[in-house]
C-alpha cells in the first residue's frame, strides 16, 4: 500500500543551525513529490516539488530537498534556520492509481526554531 512517513513529529532547533526534516514514501509506481509549509492559522503553501530531472530541488525561503529513489526518501533541508521558519511541514506524494491521481500527505513535522 502507498504511504508517506514523516518519522519526526516535532523538531526543535536553534536559530541559525541547520535542519533536516525526513520524509520516506512507499509506492510501487512512480511518484511526484512535494513539501508544503503551514504557518499558524493558515492553509498550506508549496515549498518545493520534484517531478523529474535533477534530484536536488530548491524551493522558497532557502529550503531544498533531495530525491533518493533507492531509499524512497525526499528529505527537506535548510542550512541555517530563522525564527520565522517555525511552522508545520508536510511531505506529500502524487501517484497514479485506479484511473486517477491519488494524493497522500504525511502526518507533518512541527519545526520549532529557538532563539
Amino acid at each position: 500500500a502507498q504511504s508517506v512517513t514523516q518519522l519526526d513529529s516535532q523538531v526543535p532547533v536553534f536559530e541559525e543551525a541547520p535542519v533536516e526534516l525526513r520524509c520516506n514514501y512507499s509506492s510501487s509506481v512512480s511518484v511526484y513529490l512535494f513539501w508544503y509549509v503551514q504557518y499558524p492559522n493558515q492553509g498550506l503553501q508549496l515549498l518545493l516539488k520534484y517531478l523529474s530531472g535533477s534530484t536536488l530541488v530548491k524551493g522558497i525561503n532557502g529550503f531544498e530537498a533531495e530525491f533518493n529513489k533507492s531509499q524512497t526518501s525526499f528529505h527537506l533541508r535548510k542550512p541555517s534556520v530563522h525564527i520565522s521558519d517555525t511552522a508545520e511541514y508536510f511531505c506529500a506524494v502524487a501517484l497514479w492509481a485506479s484511473g486517477t491521481y491519488k494524493y497522500i500527505f504525511g502526518t507533518g513535522t512541527r519545526l520549532k526554531v529557538l532563539a
Partner: protein
C-alpha cells in the same frame, strides 16, 4: 496569485445540525479538494472533484457529501453534524492533477457541540 477562499474561519454548530462549508477559487482550476486536518493524522482527503458536477470519494467520505455546481465553487456538507467531526477543514484546488501543486484556503475550524 491564486486565491482559495473559505466562507468561515471559525464555526460552532450543534450535534445534528446540517453544516455547509463553502470554498471558492479564482484561477479556473478543474480540480478541487476537501481535507480534514487533525493533530497527528495529517491531512485526510474527504472528497475531490475533477469537473463540474463530478465528484469522487476520498479516504474518509462517511458523514459528508459535496456539491460542485459551478467550476469555481466546491461545497462540503455535513448532513447531520456529530462531535467527531470537530476538526480543521481545508479546501484546495489545482490545475492538472498529479504534476501541479494544490493551492489551499486558510481553513475552517469547525467545532460541533
Amino acid at each position: 496569485d491564486v486565491k482559495v477562499t473559505q466562507s468561515s474561519r471559525y464555526l460552532v454548530k450543534r450535534t445534528g445540525e446540517k453544516v455547509f462549508l463553502e470554498c471558492v477559487q479564482d484561477m479556473d482550476h478543474e480540480n478541487m479538494f476537501w481535507y480534514r486536518q487533525d493533530p497527528g493524522l495529517g491531512l485526510r482527503l474527504i472528497y475531490f472533484s475533477y469537473d463540474v458536477k463530478m465528484k469522487e470519494k476520498g479516504d474518509i467520505p462517511e458523514g459528508y457529501s459535496v456539491s460542485r455546481e459551478k467550476k469555481e465553487r466546491f461545497s462540503l456538507i455535513l448532513e447531520s453534524a456529530s462531535t467527531n467531526q470537530t476538526s480543521m477543514y481545508l479546501c484546495a484546488s489545482s490545475f492538472l492533477p498529479g504534476i501541479n501543486e494544490q493551492f489551499f484556503g486558510p481553513g475552517t475550524r469547525l467545532t460541533v457541540l
